[in-house]
């Protein structure tokens, strides 16, 4: 991805050089310069969360879906109202308003008794939450529809065709390709969780790549989502870990002076318990966030280059479309790969927690 950014930077520099050689005097471009586009802000807006689902802006009028706000204010009372009350962040409602300060930018805040801006307890159905609902429903519908086909059938009634066959193939590729080899003999117990994690991540990744309404939310690129997923893996690994797994953490097979009086190795092992899910969390979050940022950045080229004249703008628009298409394809691949990586690492961590007592020849080191 950094290579793409590098390419874009090169083309931008080249286009600026071309501009210097032949200065454009397009009046419309000059007229628009007062309304400069702030790319970081655009990107942050798209990859962040919001209280309403913005779909488009037509003739200066925002078209968006208002979403319910659920907050518990400093007065200890719960408030439920539509985010349309904020009028796109321009007005306050019941003392709640959308902050423009650096600390709580874009979030609902209120003023407490000391006159400070504070965050209320916020359980609003935001864009990400709403999108999460939609994607979860899609996933449940797809899997349950497929499962219904099997429910009424016997083994000898043949195998499914079409969409259900594709779902089956996808599911079995995860079971046979990831879960079985990584966990080993106890794989059956963890299959439902790992499959759920895989398809949950995959569907959210894919939906995030669809730019219009039901998709487009940056869900798996949000730290709260990946944190929850990583915590599920963490608890499953540690709750179902065998005795041998805990022995290897607290009293590993190393020379005694690494274990006592200073428990050096146990300390490292305990830190390792937490770094594993942490790596899961950061990897998924950063990959998807970066993908969204790059795509939005590339799309922004179209708007940034407006002031460089019609010819340059046209050229850069073509470039932008080509690059965006390319990166979108790449992101489809990434959507699969990241779901795959999360699942395979979770499966490996679970597999490691299923260790059986070592044989004698391994016990000497």
């Amino acid at each position: 991805m950094s290579k793409n950014i590098f390419t874009i930077a090169i083309s931008l520099i080249m286009s600026l050089a071309a501009l210097a050689a032949a200065p454009a005097n397009d009046s419309t471009a000059m007229a628009n310069t007062d309304k400069k586009i702030n790319i970081p802000e655009v990107i942050m807006h798209h990859i962040g969360d919001s209280y309403s689902w913005h779909i488009a802006t037509l003739n200066g009028h925002d078209i968006s879906i208002p979403l319910p706000v659920i907050v518990r204010g400093v007065d200890g009372k719960w408030h439920l109202f539509s985010s349309a009350r904020f009028e796109h962040g321009h007005s306050a409602y019941n003392g709640f308003y959308i902050s423009h300060s650096d600390k709580h930018s874009g979030k609902i805040v209120e003023i407490n008794a000391q006159g400070e801006e504070v965050r209320p307890l916020d359980f609003s159905i935001t864009k990400n939450v709403f999108s999460l609902f939609i994607n979860s429903s899609i996933l449940i519908i797809i899997v349950l529809l497929s499962a219904r086909w099997y429910r009424n059938r016997d083994v000898q009634n043949g195998n499914p065709k079409g969409f259900i066959a594709a779902v089956e193939m996808f599911i079995m590729s995860v079971v046979d390709g990831i879960i079985k080899p990584c966990i080993g003999k106890n794989y059956k117990r963890y299959t439902p969780y790992l499959l759920t994690a895989f398809f949950f991540i995959f569907i959210n990744n894919i939906m995030g790549l669809i730019p219009i309404f039901p998709g487009g939310a940056n869900i798996t690129g949000n730290i709260a989502i990946t944190f929850t997923l990583a915590m599920f893996t963490f608890f499953i690994v540690n709750i179902f870990g065998t005795k041998e797994y805990w022995k290897e953490i607290l009293w590993p097979h190393v020379p005694w002076w690494l274990k006592a009086p200073i428990p050096l190795m146990p300390l490292i092992e305990i830190i390792g318990m937490f770094t594993k899910p942490f790596a899961l969390m950061i990897r998924l979050f950063a990959n998807i966030l970066a993908g969204h940022s790059v795509i939005i950045g590339l799309v922004c080229i179209v708007f940034v280059t407006v002031e460089l004249g019609t010819a340059m703008n046209t050229g850069m628009t073509v470039l932008s479309v080509i690059m965006t298409t390319f990166v979108n394809f790449l992101e489809i691949l990434v959507a699969y790969i990241q779901a795959y990586v999360f699942t395979i690492l979770s499966a490996v961590f679970i597999g490691l927690s299923q260790v059986e007592p070592h044989h004698q020849h391994e016990g000497q080191h």
């Binding site: 990859i47 962040g48 969360d49 659920i70 930018s105 874009g106 979030k107 307890l121 916020d122 359980f123 609003s124 159905i125 935001t126 990400n128 939450v129 999460l132 609902f133 979860s136 996933l139 449940i140 899997v143 349950l144 497929s146 499962a147 099997y150 429910r151 059938r153 083994v155 000898q156 195998n159 779902v167 089956e168 599911i171 079995m172 079971v175 299959t191 439902p192 969780y193 499959l195 759920t196 398809f199 949950f200 949000n222 730290i223 709260a224 989502i225 944190f227 929850t228 997923l229 599920f232 966030l289």
Partner: protein
């Protein structure tokens, strides 16, 4: 940076969503599909195995029938050979027995002939003796007495004549 601080609301809703999705799919979704696929796999494996077994059995049956045919041919040849042997033996036995029987019959008939001959000779001798006596009587009716001394004398004369003849 707000990107790196998880939002409590989103965290809560994510927990709810993922929990529900996990529960529903783990209970009604994936296990059914995975179980079915595994059952199907086992079924296919079984079918293949039984087809293989059936083929093997078929090959066994073919071989067995060939064996049976071969054995029956051998039996046939053996029986024919035995029958021939028995035939030859019976014929030989019959021949031998016939020969023995014939020899026996010949011997018996020889004996009977001999006896009959002797008997006949005796009768002839007697008859000759009687006749001779009667002739002699007739000749010297008055000279000779009909005593036993006379008869023995005649017998002696006859046997002398016989041995001379």
């Amino acid at each position: 940076m707000s990107l790196l601080t998880p939002d409590i609301g989103l965290l809560f809703w994510m927990l709810v969503c993922f929990g529900i999705v996990f529960f529903v799919l783990a209970k009604f979704g994936f296990p059914i599909i995975v179980k079915m696929v595994e059952e199907r796999k086992a079924f296919i494996d079984n079918s293949l195995n039984s087809a293989k077994e059936a083929n093997e059995r078929l090959a066994g049956i073919v071989k067995e029938s060939e064996d049976i045919i071969k054995r029956s041919r051998e039996e046939e040849v053996r029986i024919l050979k035995e029958a021939n042997e028995i035939k030859a033996k019976i014929i030989a036995d019959a021949k031998q027995q016939a020969q023995v029987e014939v020899a026996k019959m010949i011997a018996e008939s020889k004996l009977a002939i001999e006896k009959e001959k002797e008997k006949a000779m005796n009768e002839i001798n007697n008859a000759i003796a009687e006749t001779s006596i009667s002739i002699a009587e007739k000749i010297m009716r008055k000279q000779l007495d009909k005593g036993d001394e006379q008869k023995a004398f005649v017998d002696k004369l006859i046997s002398e004549a016989q041995s001379a003849a």
